[in-house]
């Protein structure tokens, strides 16, 4: 009796979850760096609040 399908299924689950375990922090890292760059870009051309009369 062969249980090859079960073995394949188990190893597939293992591989899939390990792949997630590899990709998830990588994506987090990218998101963090992206947020930092965005923040830098925003602070570079920020308009400073002024005390002058408001206009609209």
């Amino acid at each position: 009796m062969s249980y090859r399908d079960y073995v394949i299924a188990a190893y597939a689950v293992f591989a899939a979850i390990m792949l997630w375990d590899y990709l998830a922090p990588k994506l987090q890292l990218r998101a963090a760096l992206h947020a930092v760059r965005q923040r830098a870009a925003r602070s570079a051309n920020r308009v400073r609040a002024t005390n002058t009369e408001l206009e609209r």
Partner: protein, 259 residues
């Protein structure tokens, strides 16, 4: 722990604990840990799938145990490590340990999930059912809830440091209660079902069958180190997002990516 060893441990965490230092450390060693882990697991898997002969009782299905057992060990070991980091973080207020403790949780949950899934797949041909309220699987399921609780708590509190400290406290409570939970489940099982099924026969594996298991155990540990460092690095960067060194790093990395 005597005081000099304690001091050395604390000093080591403090030195490594400066966020830019840790970032460099993690960036340097993460790929190596992943690579070595992958290599070692590759050796183990080759042995498990192609070298080891089929078991006379279980047929090929016992090959599942080569991923099931290391994952089960990891799921427990990672929880203990998480509680260890959390305890250091709570007692000496070391930020790096908060980050490391919280980086443990998703990996540990992943290993727990693997254990549950492979255990259930193994159980189908062996027990004739996908799920059995076997004490091991039941404990593993509760462990998964504990992991999810730690992750959920960490995500739900706004202040990152308070979130890590609260979730760390839960991890410590969980570690203290895990033996009680496990013991209660065994007691419950004996009350309701009588005999339990042993997952690994006492000595049914001979040495040639054991070797790939050890490769897998070492491999999963190395892999875990890689994913722990990667997660901790991401969390570290997210927390320090406003600092100058992160800005420089982000600029540097974007240049590298553009190249």
């Amino acid at each position: 722990m005597n005081s000099s060893a304690k001091n050395r441990l604390v000093r080591w965490f403090h030195q490594l604990g400066s966020p830019p230092t840790f970032d460099r450390f993690a960036a340097r060693w993460t790929p190596w840990a992943y690579l070595l882990g992958l290599l070692t697991m590759g050796i183990g898997l080759y042995g498990a799938l192609f070298q080891v002969p089929a078991d006379y009782q279980q047929g090929d299905s016992f090959r599942i145990l080569y991923i099931h057992v290391p994952s089960a060990w990891m799921s427990m070991a990672v929880f203990a490590l998480m509680a260890f980091y959390a305890a250091i973080a709570l007692i000496w207020r070391i930020k790096l340990c908060e980050i490391l403790a919280m980086a443990c949780a998703p990996s540990g949950a992943a290993f727990t999930l693997i254990t549950l899934a492979t255990g259930s797949i193994w159980g189908k041909p062996m027990w004739g059912t996908w799920w059995d309220w076997d004490p091991r699987l039941t404990t593993e399921l509760i462990l998964l809830f504990l992991y999810l609780g730690v992750m959920g708590l960490y995500a739900a509190i706004d202040d990152r440091r308070n979130a890590a400290r609260a979730a760390g406290l839960l991890a410590i409570v969980g570690v203290a209660l895990l033996p009680v939970i496990r013991w209660s489940v065994v007691w419950w099982n004996s009350l309701h079902q009588g005999q339990t099924i042993r997952l690994l026969g006492e000595s049914s594996m001979d040495a040639s069958m054991i070797a790939p298991l050890w490769w897998m155990v070492v491999g999963t540990h190395l892999w875990f180190v890689g994913s722990l460092l990667a997660r901790a690095r991401a969390d570290n960067l997210r927390r320090e997002a406003g600092k100058d060194w992160v800005g420089k790093l982000a600029g540097h990395e974007s240049l590298e990516q553009a190249r």
